[in-house]
Structures are given as structure tokens and as C-alpha cells.
């Protein structure tokens, strides 16, 4: 075990990937907390699935595998998808959950067709583009990792600088508008940060699973605290640990993909939080309920006894 940990750190390539995935988890967890609180959890999924055709088009245009190029492709496609969703909800009576469902499957369908086409054309296998479906951090080169780290740090800094504004538009957008905050601009800024988080995470976690990095750490963090800054910290730590576990465990064997392991780790944190968190956790809730019942039964017994004694004295 110790040997394994040491070997992770001593190999420079693995070390970089480990750090990249950790920072990615941190950034996604922090930004994802706002997405979670705004009840836009499906948004991450839409952005991620929509990114696939964006990545494919970027590859087809330039015939090179470059993280920054793919990031731009994923960003543009994600923004296009969000634009489609808001156009549907605006011009029809379809609600946003259905609109997201329609748009994300459509984009993903288009992306899958493109991916198949690329693979059949022969250049796909060299490109390793198929890794994008489930994510393979080991496939990243140093420049990819730099981008991943830069983007993750940017996410955390943006969330810290705009903390007060993001909090207010998440809690009460009407009031935020009333005091003169440009709510539309801030909502777009948050959307772009979310898109960046998703686009950056795709290479490590994959389009199918990357949304989990936004939502699951945030959902787990909500169990531990009633204060937003603390929740962001918990979500960041859960995300970072998930990313680190994914990167570390996938080095154990050739066939272990990073993405699924990262998501499994995040889910484990969620389940533990759900069960064990103080006050909000299920265990503490059921204990409290049992104590309450016992207390009540005892006091009822006592009053019945008192009543009986009172009766016999008469």
C-alpha cells in the first residue's frame, strides 16, 4: 500500500495527473455547489453530453488531439446546447427538465455518430478519442494537465471573488435584481464557469460521467453543514478526494478507467454523508427519533402512575 503511494508520487507523469485530477475535483465541487443549490443539477449532464459533438468537430477540423482545442469545442457545443434549451423553454410550453432531456440526447446522438465515423476513418484509434466517453486520465500529457490545473484554479478563484453575488442570485434572484445586481450577467457567468468545469473534466472523467463531479460532492457536502462557505469547502474536499482516488486507483491496472472510479469514490462519500452526517444524516435522525419516543413513553408512564396514585389516595 505504502509502496504504491510512494510510486504514485515518484513517477512524475502520474504525479502530475494525480494533482490535475485533485484540482479538477476541487474546482468542480465548488462550482457545482451553486448548480446544486440552484436546482439545476441536470444542467451539468446537458453540458457534458453536448460536449461530445463539439470535441469531435474540433478533432475533424484540425486532425490533432489537443486538450485546449477540445476544451474550446466542448465549450462552444455546451453553450449551443444551453441556448437550445432556453429557446425551447421560451418559445414553447415545454418545461426545462424535458427540454434538457431532448437537447442532451440529441447532441449526444450526433456526437456518437461523429465518433463512430472518426473511428472508422482510421485516425480515431490513434487519437484515443473513444476515451472521451468514459475518461482516461492516464492518456493525458503534461500540457493537458497544465490546462486542467489552470482551469480548476480559475474556477475556485472566480467562486471566491464572486461568492457574495453567486450566493444571492442562488438564494433570491428577485431580491438580487432589486438591489441592482446584474442578475442576467451573473447567471451567464455562472453558466460559463459550469461549462468550463465540465469541458475541463471530460478528458479525465468522460462525457457520460463528468456531471457527477458537479453534483455528487455538493449533495454530500450539504449534509454536513448549514453554512454555505463550509458547504463549498466540504464539496471541494470531497471532489478533490474523488478525483485523487480515481487517478490513483486507475494506475493499478491497465484496464481501470479513471472516470468511473472517480464517480464511485464521489458516490461513496455521498452515501457515507447520507448515513453518518451529524443532525442531517439518517443515522442521527433515527437515533433522535428513538430518543424522542423513549422520552415520551417514559413521561407518559410517569403521568399515568401519578394519576393512579392520586386516585388511590382519594
Amino acid at each position: 500500500m505504502l509502496d504504491w503511494l510512494i510510486s504514485l508520487w515518484s513517477d512524475p507523469n502520474t504525479r502530475w495527473i494525480l494533482m490535475g485530477c485533485t484540482l479538477l475535483g476541487l474546482g468542480s465541487g465548488v462550482i457545482g455547489s451553486f448548480t446544486f443549490l440552484r436546482r439545476e443539477s441536470l444542467l451539468g449532464d446537458t453540458l457534458a453530453h453536448a460536449a461530445l459533438p463539439g470535441v469531435c468537430i474540433a478533432f475533424m477540423l484540425h486532425e490533432v488531439k489537443s486538450a485546449s482545442l477540445f476544451l474550446i469545442g466542448a465549450l462552444v457545443a455546451g453553450i449551443a446546447a444551453v441556448f437550445c434549451v432556453s429557446a425551447i423553454t421560451r418559445w414553447t410550453k415545454i418545461k426545462s427538465d424535458a427540454a434538457m432531456g431532448i437537447v442532451l440526447t440529441f447532441f449526444f446522438g450526433v456526437g456518437t455518430v461523429m465518433l463512430t465515423h472518426i473511428q472508422h476513418s482510421g485516425s480515431g484509434s490513434q487519437s484515443g478519442l473513444d476515451k472521451y466517453l468514459f475518461g482516461q486520465a492516464a492518456a493525458m500529457v503534461t500540457s493537458d494537465v497544465y490546462i486542467l490545473m489552470g482551469v480548476s484554479v480559475l474556477l475556485v478563484i472566480a467562486a471566491m471573488l464572486l461568492f457574495k453575488e453567486f450566493k444571492l442570485i442562488s438564494f433570491d434572484p428577485g431580491f438580487a435584481r432589486g438591489i441592482g445586481l446584474p442578475v442576467g450577467v451573473l447567471e451567464h457567468a455562472m453558466l460559463i464557469l459550469t461549462t468550463v468545469a465540465v469541458a475541463a473534466g471530460i478528458q479525465a472523467v468522460g462525457v457520460v460521467l463528468v456531471a457527477a463531479l458537479l453534483i455528487t460532492p455538493a449533495a454530500a457536502a450539504r449534509y454536513w453543514t448549514d453554512r454555505l462557505p463550509v458547504m463549498l469547502a466540504y464539496a471541494g474536499v470531497f471532489g478533490a478526494l474523488s478525483g485523487a482516488s480515481g487517478a490513483a486507483i486507475s494506475t493499478l491496472g491497465e484496464g481501470i478507467p479513471t472516470g468511473p472510479v472517480t464517480v464511485l469514490a464521489a458516490t461513496l462519500f455521498f452515501v457515507l454523508s447520507l448515513l453518518l452526517a451529524p443532525r442531517r444524516g439518517l443515522l442521527s435522525k433515527s437515533l433522535r427519533h428513538r430518543n424522542l419516543k423513549a422520552d415520551y413513553a417514559r413521561s407518559a408512564e410517569r403521568s399515568a402512575l401519578n394519576a393512579a396514585e392520586g386516585g388511590s389516595q382519594k
Binding site: 471573488l161 444571492l168 433570491d172 428577485g174 432589486g178 438591489i179 445586481l181 448549514d226 453554512r227 454555505l228
Partner: protein, 257 residues
Amino acid sequence: MKKESTAVAPLTVSGITVAYQRKAVVEDVSFALPEGNLVALIGPNGAGKSTLLKAILGLVPSISGSVSIYGDTYKKMRSRVGYVPQRESVDWDFPTDALDVVMMGRYGHLGWIKRPGRKEKDLAMSTLDKVGMADFARRQISQLSGGQQQRVFLARALVQEADLYFMDEPFAGVDAATEKAIIALLGELKRAGKTVLVVHHDLSTVEEYFDHVLLLNKKLIAAGPVETTFTPELLHETYGGKLAIVSSNGREALVKQ
């Protein structure tokens, strides 16, 4: 600034119309509020009271008309306006406490990036005390009763230190203690020369709580001082057949059906 405001009405609304799809919800409403008055906006359900309020604040788009606040646009006068939305408009399970929500009222004054500090905290604390909520400052907001949540919202509007307040049904579903706290607060605002427009439901308390009244049923039926405007005839016109007038002790009482 202050000198001008005595001459100009705190709020002048001219010809506001709001429509959802093609149906007008608020139609051609014009009025001006006298400074330092407590004003009730009343009318039957679906009369467009909340919509009118939101249209004045630019929260829903109006298809015609204009709003002037202390003689200027709402955008320029925003810092003089405080708003208390309906309690149901937010998610009370949000991870924050009462004190933090009240401090949000200072965000407009703080500007970008800057965090609230000692000064904001003290102000928020003393305002919570004013609405009888000092003991609940650190309580998570979902653990407050409906009335207590309403008082937190009021405190948040108070720390804005505005001159013109809009309150959307602050009395809806609150306990007696909260109702009393709100009335005390309204009195205090009035003494400080502030103007307050309240969407109100309970006709039996209008005469007791308010100076001025706006009667709305899609169109503005009447606007004026309570003594001359809150009359059975005008109320009948506003509520249509949904209102019965019961005479007792020579004074007329109004009963909503």
C-alpha cells in the same frame, strides 16, 4: 437630495399595463403616492396586485407605461427602494442563517467583491433585534416559523435604509406576534418619513393600519386616503359581487365571501 424629495412624490406610476400572453393582467394603472404614508394595495385574488408591484420594480416586463421614483427612473433611484418579496419566493432550505440573510440587504451598498464586515454585521444584528429576532440570528432559516421568516425578510429590507418600501403580502399566514411586530415596524417607518406600499389581503385591518389605499381589479378602481376611498361603494366596485356588507352597531363592516 432630501429637499427635492419633499416636493416630488416618492412613486408616480403612469399608464402601466402588464400582459401575459395576450391577456392583460394589469391595465393602464396610474397613481402617485404621497410621501410618508402607509399605503395598502388591495383587490380580489387575481386582480394583479403582486404583478403590479413586480412591474414597478422591473421584475416582470410591462408592455406600456412608466414609473418614476422621487422624480427619476427606478434604475437611478434603486438605492432608495426596499423590497420584501413573498415568503414563498425562495428556498428556505438554503444553507444560510437569519443574520446572513439580513446582511444581504447591504450587498447593494457594498459593491462588487467586498465582503460584509463588522459594520454590516452590527447593523443586521440591531435590525434583527428591532423585529424581535435577535435570539434567532444564528438559526438556520428552515428552522424558523413562517412568521419568523417573514420578519427576517423585513429586517433585510430595513437594513437597505431605503425611503420607499414595497412589501408583498407581509401579513399572509403569520402569527399574532409577527403581525404585531410588522405593525410596530410600519409605524416606525412612517415616523421616519418613509413611504410604504403593502399588498394587503385583510380588509378588516385596512382602516386601522393604513393611511392611504389603492383599490385594484386589473384596472385601478380608486386611489386616495382611507377615509374617503375605503368606502362600501368603491369596495363593491372592486370586489364585484364577492363582497357582502354587514351593518352592525351603526358602523359598516365588510365581509369577504
